[in-house]
Symmetry: C2
Subunit: 637 residues, 2 copies
């Protein structure tokens, strides 16, 4: 019992080889956090999601009893990391399927990229930050104009806006710089409203060296696009899992964790450091100096933006569900520790309400639904599901708290849209399962589009009924698992475990789609919009590249409209952020969109629960709402 005397123990995580020394009785989840290993954890460490399973290869530990482990697992020293205390030095193996790997994230979908390109063209190219070349005539005995005024006059010849700020740092160096540069300089100018600000003055002509980053700060993933502000083109993209994920998979869990542990600074640090890492990666890969990145536009849900700016998010989760701020004026990125140009700016796009954030405003901007006379519907399925309905006259929105099932959470073999994820699946007439994975590698799980296909195909094949329950059909792939009945989609082989879909998985997916459809119904009923009034449905989210939008109708998540009206638009949050970076007008427009959107609080809406229950069937209790869905071969209700 040598170990018992020690106060700190060394934990060795395999296969990464990352090591960390922690005090005795630290939980394995916390040790993993400190080592920088992101274990999946939906419940935030409360021990009831069962996602943070690891295997202890060596060492002493103490685990709380749980029903989430099978006898077999227990015999193999599999534990829940959050429920296990470290009592000695140890070696732990983290299963590949339960580790988040940044390289697996899709930074964008083709659909999203195309949309962004299309949208960018709509606004005049007029980036938030511009570099302009100035050639001033040096002062003479008959022209004593001070250097700062000389600079401002030269700027005003190119930019028609009063200069409200220059910054002491810039002013202090100005005279020597102008003399040295013989009055030929590049000025970096940020615009806001009707005014301008000098961010920097540099010697010589550097006006073509001006970059910016658009960031989609998602609950699960953080995506960054590097833009050249001189040409407007996207140079490179990168993504990373949100490192707050250890504190809970959804943001409500994270707010609770932060409140209980006074971890708001930690939450901010994680968000800032994720963005810094992305920017550093992009800059290094493109051989760009961080100093030449002059702006960041960030969109994200309200909680994420609160965490990033370290605003108080606690009332987001308490009635009457209020944010500290919907719209935050731009700040210097350095003020929160973001490493770009020292005077570079961070613009956070404006949000609408506690549960409809700036990612959704960005989506409205990107789809241009706010410009159309006809009514469009935007459905963004991410960790939450947000819905916007409207046209150029009105916009209504709501958030369905149905959970991130289509992001793979709460689904046994769910995974994000990354390498090895099944993104396309069909059940052939002979009953066999055909699928395609991202990167065409061995399947590791099911991403959003794969889950949608699975649900629709199981239903179409009559393997599940309209209530989502497995039908007793004598299919040998239907077995009893730890969580009840499960259907084997991919059999195991010598190297890989089988991939199944379980009854709880299906229940979660149905609940999720029901939440979305109920929200759509409430918004449509409230605005007296009939399905035939819908001119377009935009489906946004990180589903994967092969989303079969028809399946979203088949399961009853989207209204039954002609298929050509439904468009998968990918990550509209980043598309909107990019649009804003490239056009001041788009920023103004985003602010107007956020102001004009009417938020429906579904929790207090009298009709929502009824709609939710009715939508809890495949496709719906009222089949007349889904005339195009062919009669499923199933027993009657």
């Amino acid at each position: 019992m040598e170990q018992a005397k020690k106060k700190k123990y060394l934990v060795n995580f395999e296969p990464s080889g990352l090591k960390i020394e922690v005090p005795k009785e630290t939980t394995l989840l916390e040790a993993a956090r400190k080592a920088g290993i992101y274990l999946t954890s939906i419940c935030g460490g409360d021990g009831y999601c069962g996602k943070c399973k690891v295997t202890i290869d060596r060492g002493q530990f103490q685990s709380r009893p749980t029903t989430l482990l099978t006898t077999d697992e227990i015999s193999k020293n599999v534990v829940l990391a959050c429920q296990t205390k470290i009592l000695s030095d140890m070696t732990v193996t983290v299963p590949a399927s339960h580790t988040l790997q940044a390289s697996q994230i899709l930074t964008d979908t083709d659909a999203g990229s195309k949309l962004a390109d299309k949208t960018e063209g709509v606004f005049k190219f007029d980036p938030l930050v511009r570099k302009i070349c100035l050639q001033m005539s040096p002062p003479t005995v008959s022209d004593h104009t001070a250097d700062h005024e000389r600079l401002c006059t030269a700027i005003r010849e190119q930019i028609d806006a009063p200069i409200m700020q220059t910054g002491l740092r810039v002013l202090k160096a100005l005279s020597a710089l102008l003399v040295e540069a013989d009055y030929k300089v590049a000025a970096t100018i940020a615009r806001r409203g009707g005014t301008a600000e000098v961010l920097e003055v540099e010697q010589g002509c550097r006006c073509k060296t001006n970059f910016a980053v658009a960031v989609d700060l998602g609950t699960t993933t953080v995506v960054a696009h590097l833009l050249d502000l001189t040409t407007g083109s996207t140079i490179d993209t990168e993504a990373v899992y949100n490192s707050q994920i250890n504190f809970g998979e959804d943001y409500i869990r994270r707010i609770m964790y932060a409140e209980e542990n006074d971890a708001f600074d930690e939450m901010q640090n994680r968000a800032v450091s994720d963005i810094n890492n992305l920017i550093a990666t992009l800059a290094s890969r493109q051989k760009i100096d961080l100093h030449d990145i002059t702006a960041i536009v960030c969109s994200g849900n309200t909680a994420m933006i609160h965490f990033l700016l370290n605003l108080d998010p606690t009332r987001i989760r308490r009635e009457p569900y209020v944010a500290s701020a919907g719209s935050v004026p731009p700040i210097r990125a350095a003020e929160i520790g973001l490493r770009i140009n020292k005077r570079g700016l961070l613009y956070c796009l404006p949000g609408v309400a506690a549960y409809v954030g700036s990612d959704i405003v960005a989506g409205v901007l990107a789809t241009r639904m706010y410009t159309k006379k006809t009514v469009s519907l935007l459905v963004d399925i991410g960790t939450n599901g947000e819905i916007v309905l409207g046209n150029s006259d009105w916009l209504v929105c709501a958030s369905s708290s149905a959970g991130p099932a289509f992001e793979g959470s709460g689904v046994k073999h769910g995974t994000r849209a990354g390498a090895g994820a099944i993104e396309k699946l069909s059940i052939l007439p002979d009953g066999s399962v055909e699928f395609k994975t991202i990167g065409n590698t061995h399947p590791v799980g099911l991403c959003g589009s794969g889950l949608l296909d699975t649900l629709a195909e199981l239903f179409a094949a009559g393997i599940i009924d309209r209530t989502g329950r497995f039908q007793p059909k004598g299919d040998k792939r239907l077995t009893e698992g730890d969580e009840g009945q499960q259907f084997q989609l991919v059999p195991s082989d010598s190297e890989h475990q089988e991939i199944v879909i379980t009854q709880p998985d299906i229940n979660n997916l149905v609940r999720s789609k029901a939440g979305v459809f109920a929200a759509i119904r409430v918004l449509m009923e409230s605005t007296q919009t009939r399905p035939e009034d819908l001119d377009a449905i935009y489906l946004a989210g990180g589903f994967g590249n092969f989303l079969n939008v028809k399946q979203a109708v088949t399961i009853g998540m989207l209204p039954d409209v002609p298929i050509e009206k439904i468009q998968f638009v990918g990550n509209t949050s980043i598309a909107g952020a990019k649009t804003v970076l490239l056009s001041r007008k788009a920023l103004d427009t985003a602010e107007k969109i956020a102001e004009s959107m009417t938020y429906f609080d579904l929790m207090s809406h009298p009709g929502y629960m009824d709609e939710f229950i009715k939508a809890g069937f495949l496709p719906h209790t009222d089949l007349s709402l889904f005339p195009s869905v062919k009669n499923p071969p199933t027993k009657t209700l």
Copy 2:
């Protein structure tokens, strides 16, 4: 030789009793600086002004030879502090006449106060920073507006301007504060141009607790007025000598010193600390929390503003004489270390050119000459002499580099307008000298108005001729002193030294007035303004309360206009700064004034030197310019 082994020596300054430990071979001037004793030093420590005389009572030292000390002084261990190295512990006596004492400074003159009061009334009361009380309705399930937007909406009901900034610090605390305060708060709002900024949000109704400070940052003295921004009244005033004074009496010397010693940070520290000390004194005397001071408006010459903000002032003294900045957008006072509300603002008034600073713009604002159809002349005599001529259509200005003779510098017994200064002097028909001192104490020297009287009275009495030279008249008060001939104004008694005026003193004063008059002539000639076109002459500066403006005409400093047209207006720099604090419109006006003023560079002006030579006589070579000056009883030229 115990002392020689020590590395540091203790210097004891009497009569203050201040002590300082300094390394061996430090000069006494530097030791005095470090001890916080302000020795008069015009040359900045170069050893040729002879102002920093002290007496060494005890201790070893090494002095460079100088012609500025009499044999008598040398025998009494009088040394030039700047030329003397410390070689042991020592005790040094600083003569009272050569020490600057803050309590001696007049913070204002009656004339200036009256002007300020009059001017303030011209602009609508609309202070730069306002506190407003807000009673918002708390959010409900049917009103989810975020706290920041709720606040902005409430502010916009009272203030019609878009809110461009709120500050992360304010935003971070906002939600908790609003809940705690039941949505009843006071918001501190700063305005700039057409926009607004939230400086602070406080619980409850604190909207009557809002103060600000107007500062005149002069080369010699720093004056501060504490204002109540709720009522617009001036609560208290305080002044201090500019502690940069040890680095040279005029700003050109200080710029040279800073360049040679890389002492720009030190210069800024001194300016900031002088202002901080003034504010701390005012706040403590009036029992006001520094936190409740929300703005500072500062005016001063271009070099002083550069020192304060640590902008590069070096090109002010080099052809073509250019400032780094004339106008600087407001900054947070805390950014340069000023201790008021953490988000409180510092507004530096805009200047015109390297030698016509914001103090002069403040003067134009305070006298309202820019509003009048008729032509006025503003003459501000301080360390330099600045002149503005113009009306509502045009304004021209110039700076005479004639030196600070009327502030008492370069004059043997010159002193500032403080206790004991002779502020009024006449030579009676019987030849006897009659005078009045500030505070009616024993005379210690002559301040501006006393020097003006002395020059005019010596001239009128025929003691000096039109060239300013002493006339051989057999007056026994006319003796040969160390610096040539001198005239005894006040005889010595058992306790006090005599007060004399020397030939070099008179030469300095004549040169100074000649510079001013030549500048006036250049501006008048250039704009074809005749003396009879002048509707008003405003004489500004720290002369003292009993300035006899007629004397300024007698000696030929001001044009010969009817005496009722000449008005002594005191410190217009502080008057203008106060006006701006109390009215946003006045700030806009100051910016317009600064932009519209045309600067004349006298150094490169072809006619200036000729005018300067002609004005080097009393009152002038061309007596027809001074018809009201009675023929002086003097020999012809």
